[in-house]
Symmetry: C2
């Protein structure tokens, strides 16, 4: 496995692989791997011939008030894991290389980024789509892998790729959960033991909502109230939103139909956690 | 020569050409070819092995008040000329194909698009960079050709390609002028004979400014006044700006140094015309 921060080098490696007829898969990450990441990498290793994993804590997707400097970093450990999983190249650019002085070029997906996470994290998705566009242009992959846990990010990246005609197929991978149902997140490193225990309420609440709907309760207002109740039972008091949106246009929905994304964001101390489930309704 | 509006088709044609080891050149145009366009195409035909010319009057780069519907269109004539010049593919997509319902993905270069043309044509460059990014992703050219007449557009596209890491080399081509020094423009079709005569004053004024500087007048305020005087002499009364900017960062400059872009925009009736020259100063 090759580890490089050079754009020129990575382009050469990918060009060589393509010349050999290989299909290139990209897994964009911010590092601090957990099983969610390794799962994406395994999927890439299965479906692509040449796997590039980028590790880059992207400053433009953090608000000034957020945890950019605190965000966990362990490139050495990540690279070791990547090598074990059969990754061909780990791309670890510096922030200065990705955003040179005077940088002012951005990719922005409008409207769909104004809701849910975008409502709280104002310029977050502009940073995400800009770095993903840059990585697509640097690596020129055939496929790119994104986790379903960041459902809105997945929808936004899909919309970007389709509307700006990036020649990249976006592949979604299911959320990986621990034995208590908690969706794995690098930000769990911020949580105390008692907060981690409370976090179990997130998936429990989503499951309760889903159960309610399956039992025939089709009033989303009622379902939302029940989800809040479960969160409260687990000691989660600060809820940013519990939302029902069409998948994957993210149009708000009031009544079941098609694929519905039920997503939420809560705060435990200074840590913000998100999770979601997607439910299929017969049309 | 193949003429197509299909993204899938053009991707296949380009993939085949690349598999044959050919270098692909793209000339993005809005059609209504004049010698400025044919010059770009000739340059592409010389330096690339496989030439794609796109003809697309791009709605997102026109303000609602502008001439999108009036803009001259003659795809048949353009395609005939392209064929004669050895173009391999003419890409003529529809607006519906390029901007499907719900489209909301944009590429925006900030700051450098707020001045000069961007000050008057507010969302113009956002439309330009969005369509150019789309065309780059559809055609995936090795080189792309842009005219020096639209100097700010050239600077903006270069900045976009560099900062978003598009694997495309931007090639600038000199402005083509008629026997009276008028920079060729598809919008000349809007002008009356007497307006066309007045338009001769644009290049005359830029040349007078350049002459003044060469004679040792290094005060750009004074040079600007002389340029206004010449424009007036030719009957051009409405001047949007006469500006001195560093090439190609477009930082405003007050004193000669490096490469300086002298650019202007004037109005003749309802038609807006732009032109520029670049002067080299020893550092």
């Amino acid at each position: 496995m090759i580890k490089t921060g050079s754009i020129k080098k990575i382009r050469q490696l990918v060009a060589d692989a393509k010349a050999d007829g290989k299909k290139v898969g990209l897994v964009p990450t911010m590092g601090a791997f957990h099983e969610g990441h390794t799962n994406l990498i395994k999927k890439a290793a299965k479906s692509a011939d040449f796997v590039v994993v980028s590790i880059f804590v992207n400053p433009t997707q953090f608000l000034p008030s957020e945890d950019y400097h605190l965000y966990p970093r362990d490139v050495k450990k990540d690279a070791k894991q990547a090598a074990e999983l059969g990754v061909d190249v780990v791309f670890v650019p510096t922030a200065e290389k990705m955003y040179p002085k005077g940088f002012s070029s951005f990719v922005k997906i409008e409207e769909i980024t104004d809701i849910l996470e975008g409502e709280v994290r104002l310029s977050h998705f502009k940073g995400v789509t800009t770095i993903v566009a840059k990585l697509f242009n640097i690596v020129q992959p055939d496929t790119a892998y994104f986790g379903q846990k960041d459902a809105q990010q997945l929808a936004v990246v899909r919309k970007m790729a389709a509307e700006l005609n990036f020649p990249v197929k976006i592949i979604a991978c299911p959320t990986v959960r621990d034995e208590h149902g908690i969706a794995l997140s690098s930000r769990h490193q911020y949580l105390s033991e008692s907060q981690l225990k409370k976090a179990r309420g997130i998936h429990a609440a989503l499951q309760e909502g889903s159960k309610l709907i399956k039992s025939g309760i089709l009033d989303f207002g009622q379902v939302r109230r029940r989800i809040y109740d479960v969160l409260n039972t687990y000691g989660i008091k600060r809820v940013d939103y519990v939302s029902f949106n069409q998948w994957d246009s993210l149009e708000p929905v009031r009544k079941p139909g098609g694929k519905v994304l039920i997503s939420l964001a809560v705060r435990l101390g200074t840590t913000r956690l998100i999770d979601n489930i997607i439910m299929n309704f017969k049309q």
